[in-house]
């Protein structure tokens, strides 16, 4: 056992670092996602990576993966986090992509994988419904066979960034009479420009619009867009969720966040000294860092297991729970660090015509909104309660 990087890994890190330095778009370098970003800004880096062949590092090489070891992938995410890079959105790269290359038809692979790699096609995830959240299997959106089409009717909700999406992957009920709710569900790819789809943004507590309600009314989808077998969608959905969860841990990004927090706490003053030199505050930052290193090594162990042929299993629930808790505490501490300047509502200022220059230090401006927004992480992707239920059943056997 050894935690040090090998000389080859160090060389790889240098290569990655200089590639990022030379190619990451300068105008995006202030980094970090903001909710007012255009789709072009959000995909700019993805498109550059697509050309380089680095947009889907975790995929098998035959589908455009890099063949990197888990350590290399870890270095890759660290280096991106260092510059706060806006990474490819997960919906194509880490969700539907793996489903398509694992369970999809040859035609589907040819049609969809290139667009995911290049970043030209924007995907969204149509799972949740108003009545089917944690209990996803109770979903009621129906897909009824009509000749060589499915006719789809129902309402999805929380569809992240669907307002920009070209394609969506949807769970629909194809057999309403199945014995168990998990049976009779199919995994269907839908062109978001198909007539009958209406997408309506939902305003969230941070003032942004990242999720949508999505209505499907007599949407006709060719049967070729069914992934795998009819009525077996639950299997693919679960496969996908395990992939979704491991990405959610966000270790590299949180490490970067801790550094930023330290910088903020160095420039904030308490009793004429930097806040960072205050023991009470410093202790909380260290606690966060300690928890983060425990998560990091746990994730590396999981990655190593995957490399050895174990798919992401119920352990990914540990990563989801701990990763999101850390992200939430990090944003909470950041808000705490900025003191009074967490209180102004910056998004509301443009409405009031007073956005000539920022109020308070730059780093304070999104601190409250980010804290509010990050409450989502313990809710989505299977809430943390549901993750604990999974561990209860799958690991503890209760």
């Amino acid at each position: 056992m050894n935690l040090e990087f090998t000389p080859e890994e160090l060389a790889f890190r240098d290569e990655v670092r200089s590639f990022i330095a030379e190619n990451y778009p300068k105008d995006l370098s202030s980094g970090g996602m903001r909710d007012d970003m255009s789709p072009e800004e959000l995909t700019a880096w993805h498109k550059i990576l697509g050309k380089k062949g680095w947009s889907t590092p975790a995929w098998p090489e035959q589908y455009g993966g890099t063949g990197w070891t888990p350590t290399q992938r870890y270095i890759w995410s660290e280096e991106n986090a260092r510059v706060n890079a806006i990474m490819p959105l997960p919906f194509g790269v880490s969700m539907v992509g793996p489903v398509i290359y694992t369970f999809g038809s040859e035609e589907q692979k040819q049609q969809h994988l290139p667009g995911i790699r290049s970043g030209d096609v924007w995907w969204c995830q149509g799972y949740s419904e108003p009545g089917a959240g944690s209990d996803l299997a109770s979903l009621t959106t129906t897909a009824v066979r009509d000749g060589d089409h499915y006719v789809i009717n129902g309402q999805k909700t929380w569809t992240t960034l669907a307002q920009h999406a070209d394609w969506g992957f949807f769970l629909c009920r194809t057999d309403p009479d199945a014995a168990k709710p998990q049976e009779g569900i199919s995994f269907i790819l839908i062109d978001m420009n198909t007539p009958g789809i209406e997408v309506k943004p939902i305003k969230l507590i941070d003032g942004g619009y990242e999720v949508n309600e999505t209505w499907l009314t007599d949407v006709r989808v060719p049967v070729e867009n069914l992934v795998g077998e009819e009525n077996k969608g639950w299997t693919y959905a679960k496969f996908l969720l395990a992939h979704e969860r491991s990405g959610i841990a966000g270790v590299a990004r949180s490490k970067r966040g801790v550094e930023q927090l330290r910088d903020i706490a160095k420039s904030e003053q308490l009793d004429g000294k930097p806040l960072m030199s205050d023991f009470d505050f410093a202790r909380k930052v260290s606690q966060l860092e300690i928890d983060l290193s425990a998560l990091e090594i746990t994730e590396l162990r999981t990655l190593a297991g995957e490399q050895a042929g174990k798919g992401p299993g119920p352990e990914s629930s540990i990563l989801k729970i701990k990763g999101t808790e850390i992200q939430q505490r990090l944003t909470e501490l950041t808000l705490e660090a900025v003191g009074h300047y967490g209180t102004p509502y910056y998004a509301g200022m443009s409405d009031m015509g007073s956005n000539e220059y920022p109020i308070g230090p730059d780093y304070a401006q999104h601190s409250a909104a980010t804290y509010f927004n990050m409450r989502k992480t313990s809710i989505y992707g299977g809430s943390n309660e549901i993750q604990r239920n999974i561990i209860t059943k799958m690991i503890l056997g209760l």
Partner: protein, 378 residues
């Protein structure tokens, strides 16, 4: 020992409950805070009419002779409706300075206007660098002839866009962070050299950055003794903290009730989510936090008139405990509401935001923990 309210207090509370219910349903509040001015002067007028703006002043000053318990009752009801009107800056803070240290002439000039609703105050104490230390002041007030000249920048002054007047802390002598040399002034907001930048706050109120650029004020603008204001500021802000603790108790009570209610209605897996024991226990913990917070609010409120040390210990203890409870209850309420909790549409998110902002007002958990430690071990 007596934890009961008088008949009069109960009456005030009941009429306030009604008033808040009528004026502060979610949609009406949303429209009000989203309007150009961000508040409703007519609600302020109604509060004046109910006699609430004059409540804590003695009868000889033109008030109704109430005390801290009355403010507590009012604030708890305000918290239930997330009322944005500037009761704390105007009545508790400015009113407090006048009550404790105002001259007869100052009381005469200002209290009548507070009571009838025509004079609205904001309390400009925080600065960009000073964090929660009232003594860490860069704003200066220099003697000039018979009066003073103010210069400085005050940060996130709550209610300032609505105010006619400001109460301002400034350094009249001494070095930065000295506890001596601090003074308090009343300034007409329309005075030459007062510049404000107004903006909304994340919890639906309005605030300003206030800049003083050679603002000349007369000698009568000074409240209390020159250079000796720190203990006075501490008295008044401790009263403000007690009032806001009550407000936050009101907000926590509603946030908890909404969560319990939601968990009864929202069904997943064929049952109400409230039937899951893991959620039940968490709502029990929220409830426990709320009850403890009410107790701490009583403690802080009832100790306001005691010795300085007793008062500060109680107020800091309350601010710590309730700051923690507010975070806990706010976060759990969102979590148990699931995706719906993240939406602007549901009221619960607005409660969450108010519960969040409370922590940084008049010193956060760490700040008051330190004050408690220093007093308890000193």
């Amino acid at each position: 020992m007596d934890f009961n309210f008088t008949d009069e207090q109960t009456m005030v509370r009941d009429s306030l409950t009604r008033m808040v219910r009528e004026n502060y349903d979610t949609d009406t509040r949303r429209a009000a805070i989203g309007s150009d001015s961000g508040w409703r002067p007519e609600v302020w007028a109604q509060l004046a009419e109910l006699g609430l703006l004059g409540m804590p002043f003695s009868e000889e000053d033109g008030g109704f002779g109430g005390g801290a318990v009355d403010s507590m009752i009012v604030m708890e009801e305000f918290g239930k409706g997330l009322v944005v009107e500037p009761f704390v800056p105007t009545v508790v803070c400015a009113g407090g300075f006048l009550k404790h240290a105002g001259t007869a002439a100052q009381k005469e000039e200002h209290i009548g206007g507070i009571v009838d609703g025509s004079r609205i105050f904001a309390f400009a104490y925080a600065e960009p660098r000073g964090r929660f230390d009232y003594a860490d002041l860069e704003t200066t007030a220099k003697k000039d002839g018979g009066g003073y000249v103010l210069n400085g920048h005050k940060a996130v002054v709550i209610g300032a866009p609505w105010a006619t007047h400001l109460v301002v802390t400034a350094r009249t002598s001494g070095g930065q962070r000295d506890s001596d040399g601090i003074s308090v002034f009343v300034v007409d907001k329309s005075s030459a050299g007062v510049v404000t930048r107004d903006y909304p706050t994340v919890d639906g109120r309005r605030a300003s950055e206030v800049y003083f650029e050679n603002v000349a004020v007369p000698a009568e603008a000074l409240i209390g003794e020159e250079g000796k204001a720190l203990p006075l500021i501490e008295v008044v802000t401790d009263e403000a903290i007690a009032a806001q603790c009550a407000e936050v108790c009101g907000a926590m009570k509603v946030a908890h009730a909404m969560t319990v209610d939601y968990s009864r209605q929202r069904k997943q897996f064929g049952v109400p989510i409230g039937s899951f024991q893991v959620l039940q226990h968490r709502m029990v913990d929220m409830y426990t936090e709320y009850e403890q917070s009410v107790s701490m609010t009583y403690l802080a409120t009832l100790k306001l008139g005691e010795s300085e040390v007793e008062r500060k210990l109680a107020v800091s203890a309350a601010k710590v405990r309730i700051g923690q409870a507010a975070h806990h209850i706010g976060q759990e309420a969102i979590q148990i509401h699931g995706g719906m909790g993240m939406t602007d549409e549901l009221a619960i998110g607005h409660y969450f935001k108010r519960l969040t902002v409370f922590d940084a007002e008049f010193g956060n958990v760490d700040h008051h923990m330190k004050r408690h430690v220093a007093l308890a071990s000193g």
